[in-house]
Symmetry: C3
Subunit: 139 residues, 3 copies
Amino acid sequence: MTKAHTEYLTFNTRKRKEMIHITDQVEAIVRRSGIRDGLCFVSPMHITAAVYVNDHESGLIEDISTWLEQLAPENPAYRHHQTGEDNGDAHLKALLLHHETTLPVTDGHLDLGTWQRIFYAEFDGQRPKRLIVKVLGIA
Amino acid sequence: MTKAHTEYLTFNTRKRKEMIHITDQVEAIVRRSGIRDGLCFVSPMHITAAVYVNDHESGLIEDISTWLEQLAPENPAYRHHQTGEDNGDAHLKALLLHHETTLPVTDGHLDLGTWQRIFYAEFDGQRPKRLIVKVLGIA
Amino acid sequence: MTKAHTEYLTFNTRKRKEMIHITDQVEAIVRRSGIRDGLCFVSPMHITAAVYVNDHESGLIEDISTWLEQLAPENPAYRHHQTGEDNGDAHLKALLLHHETTLPVTDGHLDLGTWQRIFYAEFDGQRPKRLIVKVLGIA
């Protein structure tokens, strides 16, 4: 039987920029969906955040943050700031990491490699922001 | 009932590089699909264009274009140009934004956040180019 | 009838960094799946590799490699290297190209544009690494 299952997560980060490990929460949603084989879509519903898959290692997470700041730096001169915003860099950082990811589900679990972990990358937080997880497949 | 619905859009941009807002066209395809719950795949069928989700704000769109030009500049020295092409930068810009996106469909509509809008990012236009939209889910 | 079909490919690259053309292998999996209409998910199960869609032209492949090295260079100073690793750049390169892609399947084939080809981008190879291909759709 084909099934779709959707849940929304809300995050309110303590720091403006923060990487939050969410593999366990996504895996729990896959379990609750009852879907055995299919795809799991994960995405923030915001334009200054991203989701990415990589290693859960604190040094690397710092490296990623430093690298994003180099490639998409904070800069008062962004044209977007003429609207009163000050988060131009957050939009660019989100584009760089891509705003969504799809993950495979096999035998009722996320079918990830040993070191693949899912992160919510927030670049303009400190307020409630939502993430959508939708599992589509065969129950 | 599981259903798949596919449509192709054609664009012929006036400028060589252009960002085109396509949320309304994708939403109309979702509506015509009759699919209530599932995933909507959107992608150019070309290798010098991308699709991205972000804010529909003209200053930001200029910021994104400027930023892409900094990270993946036009440059006569690309090896690809030895084939007679002159669009090496367009390939790199397309890779940076990723050539496809998937979007969630809930209750028969794109399930996007308030400010999430879909853009077709063309980096070598001024000729007819196609985009595929495929909705897969439960009708 | 809704169907999901999963296969795993293993690669052991000769060079540490290598781009491997895999369109034919993915198309063969789509054929074996028996799925006529749906989506095909492709992703390495590793965090130092990516998958991307672009031109199968050797000059461009060199341009992409050079460009990735500029934007995410090898550098002994990555904090990740304090764990004993030396592949910090490989993680960043993988993030830049995105670790997964989804592709449309129509009439039992990958529904790609004329020049769209699928590449496995390995940045820390010379050992067996796996890639998952999952096709979901209507048989």
